[in-house]
C-alpha cells in the first residue's frame, strides 16, 4: 500500500506536472527543531564535498558575470538571482567549517553561523529560481560548474527538510509509487496497450531477453503517451530485439532533482536492474533531459561501478540508425525551430544528434539565437515546473523563449524533452501563444519509410 499522503492531490488534468494546493511560503518537511535542521543541511552539504567541489568553492572571484548567463537575472535584473549568490550561505558555511583557514574564521568570528531562517530564505534561490541548466557554468571565467554546486546544496536542503512541498511530494510519489505522476506499472501497461492499438504496432513488455531496454518518462506516459507508440514503431521498423520492463520502465528521477541521493539511487537502480535482467546491451532513454543525465552521467556512480550496457538518449539513437542508413525517413515540408534541452545538449554533449535527424527529415530548421549549447533554458527544468509559487517567475523567464521562437519565424518548435514540452505547453496556455512544441521522436515515427 502506498505511504504517500493525500495532502497534495495530483493535478493530472493540467498541462504541467504538478500537485494541487499551492501556497506562498518557504516549506519545511519533518518535525525537527531548527538546530537539527541546520546541522543536517550543513552536514549533508559538506558530506559531498570533494576535491572538485572544494576547488570550485575556493575559485570564485565575485566577478558577477554568471548573472549575465542566467535567465532569471537577465529577465528580472534582480541581483539575488546571480547564480553564485544562490550558493552564498553554503559558501559561508564552507569557509567556516571546511576551508583551509576555517579555524581563523571560527576563532575571530569572520564568518557567522548560518541560521535556519537564512536557509528558508535561500529555498527560493536553490529551487524556485535555478533549473540547473548550467549556462552559468559555461560563462564562468574561473570555470566553476555552479550547477553542480546547486545540486550539492539541494542535498543539504533536502536532508534538512527545507525543500518546496510540491517537489518533495512529487519526489516522494516517485519513490513510493514508482512514478511522480501516478504512472504505475499497471497504468503504464494499459497505456502501452492503448498505444500499440493506436500505432498498430507491437509494444514489447517484459520480454525475458532483449538487446535494447527502453524507458519512458512519466510525463510522456501520462501526458504525451504517443511517445510510447512512436518508440515501439521505430524499434519494430528496425527489427530490433527490444522491450519495456515493468520493474524499470520509468526514467525520470525526481529524487535527484529534489536532492535525495537515496531516492535518486533507488530510481536509477530500477532501470539498471531491469537492463541486467533482460541482458540489454543498450538502454535507450526517452525524450527527457534530466533522465538522461541521471543514468548516462550519474548512473555508474549510483551503481558503484561502470554500467554493463551502453546508454543513449533517443535522439542519439535515432541519429545513429539514420546515419547508418538502417532507418529511412520521408522528407517533411515544414519550417521548424529546435529547443535544445539543457541536460541533453549543454550538460550532456548530444547537441548534434537531433540536427542529424532533422536534416534527414528535410526540415527547414531555423535556429534560435543563441542556440545549441548556449540555448536559453525553458525555465521548467530542475523540478521548477512543479513549484507553484515559482509560476510567475517561470513565466517571466519564458518570455525569453517566446522572443527567441518568434524571431525565427517558425510555427513549430521541436524538442527532445517532455519536461521542456510541458513547460512550453503550460506557458503557451498562460500566454495564449500560438506556437506548438512537438516531439522529434513522434515526427520521425510519423514519417518512416515502410
Amino acid at each position: 500500500m502506498s505511504k504517500v499522503t493525500e495532502k497534495y492531490p495530483l493535478d493530472t488534468h493540467e498541462q504541467r506536472l504538478t500537485v494541487k494546493d499551492p501556497h506562498p511560503r518557504h516549506d519545511t518537511q519533518g518535525d525537527v527543531d531548527e538546530d537539527e535542521r541546520l546541522r543536517r543541511a550543513m552536514a549533508n552539504f559538506a558530506k559531498n564535498m570533494n576535491r572538485t567541489t572544494a576547488t570550485y568553492m575556493e575559485a570564485c572571484v565575485h566577478c558577477g558575470q554568471c548573472a549575465e548567463a542566467c535567465h532569471y537575472y537577465v529577465q528580472t535584473e534582480d541581483p539575488k538571482y546571480t547564480p553564485i549568490w544562490k550558493l552564498e550561505i553554503f559558501k559561508q558555511a564552507y569557509k567556516r567549517e571546511n576551508s583551509p583557514f576555517g579555524f581563523f574564521y571560527r576563532l575571530f568570528g569572520f564568518k557567522r553561523h548560518i541560521t535556519v531562517e537564512q536557509l528558508g530564505e535561500w529555498q527560493e534561490l536553490i529551487y524556485d529560481s535555478c533549473t540547473m541548466c548550467g549556462r552559468c557554468s559555461l560563462i564562468c571565467p574561473m570555470g566553476i560548474d555552479i550547477a553542480t554546486l546547486v545540486g550539492q546544496a539541494r542535498h543539504g536542503m533536502f536532508k534538512a527538510g527545507l525543500i518546496p512541498d510540491e517537489l518533495h511530494e512529487v519526489a516522494q510519489r516517485a519513490k513510493e509509487e514508482g512514478s511522480p505522476l501516478g504512472a504505475t506499472a499497471s497504468v503504464f501497461e494499459d497505456r502501452a496497450e492503448w498505444m500499440g492499438d493506436e500505432f498498430d504496432t507491437e509494444v514489447n513488455i517484459d520480454q525475458e531477453q532483449a538487446d535494447i531496454l527502453v524507458a519512458m518518462s512519466s510525463i510522456e506516459i501520462m501526458k504525451y503517451p504517443h511517445a510510447i507508440g512512436a518508440t515501439a514503431k521505430v524499434l519494430n521498423a528496425l527489427g530490433e530485439s527490444w522491450t519495456f520492463r515493468t520493474e524499470g520502465y520509468e526514467a525520470t528521477n525526481f529524487g535527484m532533482m529534489a536532492g535525495n541521493t537515496e531516492w535518486q539511487k533507488a530510481a536509477t537502480m530500477k532501470i539498471i536492474n531491469a537492463a541486467i535482467a533482460c541482458g540489454a546491451k543498450l538502454v535507450v532513454l526517452p525524450e527527457c533531459g534530466h533522465a538522461y543525465g541521471a543514468l548516462r552521467w550519474q548512473g555508474a556512480a549510483m551503481y558503484g561501478k561502470p554500467l554493463p550496457f551502453k546508454v543513449q538518449h533517443i535522439s542519439e539513437f535515432l541519429a545513429d540508425v539514420i546515419s547508418s542508413g538502417r532507418l529511412k525517413v520521408k522528407k517533411v515540408d515544414q519550417t521548424v525551430t529546435f529547443h535544445d534541452p539543457c541536460q541533453v545538449a549543454r550538460r550532456g554533449g548530444a547537441t548534434e544528434a537531433p540536427r542529424v535527424v532533422m536534416e534527414a527529415l528535410g526540415l527547414d530548421l531555423k535556429e534560435m539565437a543563441p542556440t545549441g549549447d548556449f540555448n536559453w533554458c525553458c525555465g521548467g527544468g530542475g523540478g521548477v515546473v512543479t513549484i507553484h509559487r515559482a509560476d510567475k517567475l517561470r513565466y517571466k523567464v519564458f518570455e525569453l523563449k517566446m522572443d527567441q521562437v518568434e524571431a525565427t519565424g517558425a510555427d513549430t518548435v521541436l524538442s527532445t524533452c517532455s519536461n521542456c514540452r510541458q513547460s512550453y505547453n503550460d506557458a503557451k496556455e498562460h500566454f495564449h501563444w500560438d506556437k506548438n512544441m512537438e516531439s522529434l521522436l513522434e515526427l520521425v515515427a510519423e514519417n518512416l519509410v515502410e
Partner: protein, 217 residues
C-alpha cells in the same frame, strides 16, 4: 634599523615565509580533499587535453556571452595586463627577481612602465567604483573583495609615488612600496588573490568533466 632595512630584510623574510606556508597549506588542503572519480562511460577521449584546453579557452568568453560581459572583461584584462607589464617589465623589479632566481631579461622603457601603472590604477579605481555601484557586484562582494583590491592597489600606487619622488623621502617611499608588496604576499594565500593559481584547477576540472561528455567547454 631604518624602515627600508626592515622592509628589505626581516619584513621580506616574514612575508615570504607566510606566503609560502599559506600557499602550501591551502593547496595541500585542496589536494587532501577526497577525489571523486567519474566512472561513467566517456563519450569522447582526450579528457586531459580538454582540461588543458579549457584552461586557455576560458580566457575569452564564448561568443554569445561577449556583449553582456564586455565592460567587466575589458576592465579585468586592462588591470591584469597592466599589472603584468609593471611587475615583469620594470627594471628594478627585474633586478629584484634576479637577486632571488638569477633570471633576468630586458626591461621595458620607463615610459611604458609608468603608463601601464597609471592605466592599471585607473582600471582598479573604475573596478572599485563598479563593484560599489553595480547591483550584482555590490550584493555579492565581501571583505575579501575590498581588502584584496586595496592590497593590490597599494603596491602600484606606492611604486608610482616612489619613481615620481612624491609624498616623502625616496627611501621612505621605497620602504612603503616594498612593505605594501609584502602585505600583498602575506594576504595572497588567505583571500581571493589565490584565484591566480586555483583558476587552473577549476578550469581544468570542468574541462575534463565536459570533454568526457562531448559537451562544450
Amino acid at each position: 634599523m631604518e624602515l627600508l632595512d626592515f622592509a628589505r630584510g626581516p619584513g621580506l623574510q616574514i612575508a615570504v615565509l607566510i606566503f609560502v606556508a599559506g600557499l602550501v597549506w591551502r593547496l595541500v588542503h585542496l589536494f587532501l580533499a577526497a577525489k571523486k572519480s567519474d566512472i561513467s562511460e566517456a563519450r569522447m577521449g582526450g579528457a586531459r587535453a580538454g582540461g588543458l584546453k579549457t584552461i586557455f579557452s576560458r580566457f575569452r568568453h564564448h561568443e554569445p556571452f561577449r556583449e553582456r560581459t564586455r565592460n567587466g572583461s575589458v576592465l579585468a584584462y586592462t588591470m591584469h595586463i597592466g599589472l603584468v607589464i609593471v611587475v615583469l617589465g620594470s627594471a628594478p623589479h627585474i633586478l629584484f627577481i634576479e637577486s632571488f632566481t638569477g633570471l633576468d631579461w630586458t626591461p621595458l622603457p620607463t615610459l611604458v612602465i609608468h603608463l601601464a601603472a597609471a592605466v592599471t590604477v585607473a582600471a582598479l579605481l573604475v573596478g572599485l567604483g563598479r563593484r560599489l555601484r553595480h547591483p550584482v557586484l555590490r550584493m555579492i562582494s565581501n571583505f575579501d573583495d575590498y581588502f584584496s583590491w586595496l592590497i593590490t592597489t597599494l603596491p602600484v600606487v606606492t611604486g608610482l609615488l616612489t619613481v615620481a619622488h612624491v609624498g616623502g623621502r625616496y627611501e621612505t617611499l621605497l620602504a612603503l612600496h616594498i612593505l605594501s608588496f609584502e602585505a600583498f604576499l602575506i594576504w595572497f594565500p588567505f583571500g581571493k588573490l589565490m584565484h591566480s593559481i586555483i583558476v587552473f584547477g577549476s578550469r581544468y576540472t570542468t574541462g575534463i568533466t565536459f570533454t568526457r561528455r562531448g559537451a562544450k567547454v
